[in-house]
């Protein structure tokens, strides 16, 4: 076995893992705080990428501005969705939220596909991050290195914000017992809207990060979201750290599969999911 090639595959797996981690983190935040299975997550990720494309080609704002503005813009779209639609489903069965967000995803993707076709639009790598480093065992594009580092920072900051700060403790309390938290004078509905907006912003951020790597395509999210849901299930629904760690781990696992048996690379995640569900139904990091 060629160890150099193996290292290269592991590193590539880590890069993909950072996308899984960012997306599944957003899903976990939304599920943990709102109890909504957000099937529109992939569509919102795609909107993030398209939004970056618009900022560059219509408004003239480059990648770095997009990193800041796109999560804000798409996050606001998310908050509108929460206020106008998801809010009405509060207290109902999970299935209603799932169906609503799934339908929303189909509508959003359909609209984009109607106007932009399915092949997508090109988005160039920002000039500061073109080129790459020769690591000896592989050529690492600078942009990919940036993606890993940046998403790791965002993931850890989010985990810290929710698990270790006072605001985070309000959030967690509000999911346990909204009435009680409200009694302390905290505006729970507003907090829920903001949380949904934040989860959506994470998806949009992942969209911006992926725009220079993949084509900006209407179906880019639909293809990814299924895997990301598997990641969330494996990590344990609603577990923040669980989704981050599982995201990176499964990226690595996929990288290994692509090296040893590429034909199975898009099924391996689901095999793991099936095994985890059999052995530990609440997921690797899930609370019982």
């Amino acid at each position: 076995m060629n160890t150099q090639a193996l290292f290269a595959q592991l590193l590539v797996g880590l890069i993909n893992g950072s996308f899984y981690a960012l997306l599944s983190l957003g899903l976990a935040v939304i599920f943990g705080m709102l109890n909504i299975i957000n099937f529109a997550h992939g569509a919102l990720y795609m909107m993030g990428a398209f939004c970056a494309w618009f900022l560059l080609n219509v408004v003239g704002l480059n990648y770095w501005f997009a990193l800041v503005f796109v999560p804000l813009i798409v996050g606001c779209v998310g908050m509108v969705i929460e206020r106008t639609m998801l809010k009405r489903l509060q207290g109902l069965d999970h299935l209603y939220g799932l169906l609503l967000t799934f339908g929303l995803a189909l509508v959003i993707q359909g609209v984009f596909q109607n106007y932009f076709g399915s092949s997508g639009l090109p988005y160039a790598i920002p000039s500061q991050l073109t080129g790459g480093q020769n690591l000896g065992f592989m050529f690492l594009p600078n942009y990919r290195a940036w993606v890993v580092v940046f998403s790791l920072i965002i993931c850890l900051a989010t985990w810290y914000g929710i698990e270790k700060t006072k605001l985070g403790s309000y959030l967690r309390a509000a999911t346990e017992n909204p009435q009680l938290v409200r009694a302390f004078g905290i505006n729970v509905p507003r907090m829920i809207t903001l949380t949904y907006g934040f989860g959506v912003a994470l998806a949009a951020l992942a969209g911006v990060l992926s725009a220079p790597i993949n084509q900006v395509r209407p179906l880019m999210g639909a293809d990814l979201i299924i895997v990301v849901f598997a990641v969330v299930v494996i990590g344990g629904m609603g577990s923040i750290m669980g989704s981050i760690v599982t995201g990176f781990l499964l990226g690595l696992l996929e990288g290994l599969t692509k090296y040893f048996y590429p034909e199975a690379s898009n099924t391996v995640v689901f095999v793991v999911m099936a095994i985890v569900l059999l052995v530990k139904p609440n997921g690797l990091f899930g609370r019982t």
Binding site: S118, L219, Y259
Partner: protein, 403 residues
């Protein structure tokens, strides 16, 4: 006695033909990827192309009624088969057109024969449609893997690219293209040093590209299509593969892919096509009418052009027959007996094995400076004459040829 029987036979024939002459109803089904990875290659554009062919045929004015229905096979052979069966049994469709994706195309091929439909494929690549799996009901119109291998593969090997590594889409199309290109490479003195098979509709190609890189092959052959090809090309540039001296050979490239990649990313690629919108006045006039009616204003791909031309030839053949016999094999036999002539592919013929034959073009992609107008992307490197472009009849393994 002989006179009597001759007269009655004539009367019968007249009665039969006048009864049949009243059947001027045609139902065309366009079955394609309407929403997935190949939707820009065929999709809504294929439906539009079929409609334009019907309008241009002028048959409506001559008393014919022609309906078009369409469906999305979602790149799944089982769905394609179910729809085709339903079309044959319930909707009484006469012919199936389009059908991108070789996996689906080969599955539908069986249904078309079983239900005796007309099956004109413009979209799938697998040359098997006119070889091992040929049927009296099938016409394969636009291009096939033999053409792509011979056009691009031969040109690349001859220009010094004699060691190859394949990145192959893991289904019927990729396998057929890899097989046919390998044959051309070895026949021309080159060798294949390795290959990797990736799932259809993959988004990240970096691990496969790393394998291609470490193979040290001079040429990385892309036996994939649509979004898979565009993502591979884009990520190959990112991983420094093209700047490291290895070259990409996109064996199948559509104009929608080039548009999606942008010229900067795709310039320098060479590939084979049978249609380009900016070839002559006929293709330009068609393109103008076509893109005005497309939602995203795209120009026709060779697949959409093939749908137009194949529907047109189908309708011409029915007009020549004077009636629709609703008998697929019979209509296809008629189509084979008539030379084809349309503004997009020029004059051509359909061979006995169902292979439509026309010239093909080895194309290069213009640089940003060379491109003067929107969609001005291709430059002609060489024309491959019709008789060299497709499998020679004596090499075709089609059973129909042995009768």
């Amino acid at each position: 006695m002989t006179r009597l029987s001759a007269v009655s036979a004539l009367a019968l024939a007249l009665a039969a033909s006048s009864a049949m002459a009243q059947d001027k109803n045609i139902k065309i089904g366009v079955l394609d990827d309407m929403s997935g990875i190949y939707a820009d290659v065929g999709g809504a554009g294929s439906i539009l192309a079929a409609q334009m062919a019907i309008e241009d045929s002028g048959l409506a004015k001559k008393g014919w009624t022609i309906d078009v229905i369409s469906a999305d096979h979602q790149n799944k052979p089982d769905i394609g088969v179910n729809i085709s069966r339903q079309w044959a049994d319930k909707d009484r469709v006469d012919g199936i057109f389009g059908v991108l994706n070789s996996g689906v195309a080969l599955a539908v091929n069986g249904v078309a024969k079983e239900k005796n439909l007309v099956y004109m494929n413009s979209g799938a690549a697998a040359a098997d449609l006119t070889n091992a799996q040929c049927t009296p009901n099938t016409v394969h119109w636009t291009y096939d893997t033999y053409l792509l291998a011979n056009g691009t593969g031969k040109a690349v090997v001859k220009s010094g690219g004699d060691s190859w590594f394949f990145m192959t889409a893991d289904y019927a199309f990729g396998h057929a293209l890899e097989r046919d290109t390998t044959a051309v490479i070895t026949a021309n003195g080159g060798k294949v040093v390795g290959s990797v098979r990736h799932p259809l509709n993959n988004s990240d190609f970096s691990s496969f590209l790393l394998q291609a890189q470490s193979s040290k092959a001079k040429i990385i052959g892309l036996a994939n299509a649509g979004g898979d090809t565009t993502n591979t090309v884009k990520q190959a540039a990112e991983f420094g593969i093209t700047s490291g001296g290895q070259k990409l050979a996109a064996l199948l490239l559509f104009i929608s892919d080039v548009h999606a990649l942008g010229l900067k990313m795709s310039q320098g690629l060479i590939f084979t096509t049978t249609f380009y919108w900016d070839m002559n006045d006929g293709t330009r006039a068609f393109t103008k009418r076509f893109s005005e009616r497309m939602k995203n204003k795209q120009v026709p791909t060779m697949v959409q052009a093939g749908v137009y031309a194949s529907v047109l030839h189908y309708l011409k053949s029915l007009e020549a027959m004077g009636t629709n016999p609703h008998d697929g094999a019979k209509v296809v036999a008629q189509m084979k007996s008539m030379p084809t002539d349309d503004p997009l592919f020029g004059k051509g013929v359909i061979q006995p094995n169902g292979r439509k034959v026309h010239p093909a073009y080895l194309m290069g992609i213009k640089s940003v400076e060379e491109s003067k107008a929107p969609w001005d992307y291709y430059k002609l490197i060489a024309t491959i004459p019709a008789e060299e472009a497709f499998t020679p009849l004596d090499k075709s393994t089609c059973a129909l040829l042995k009768q």
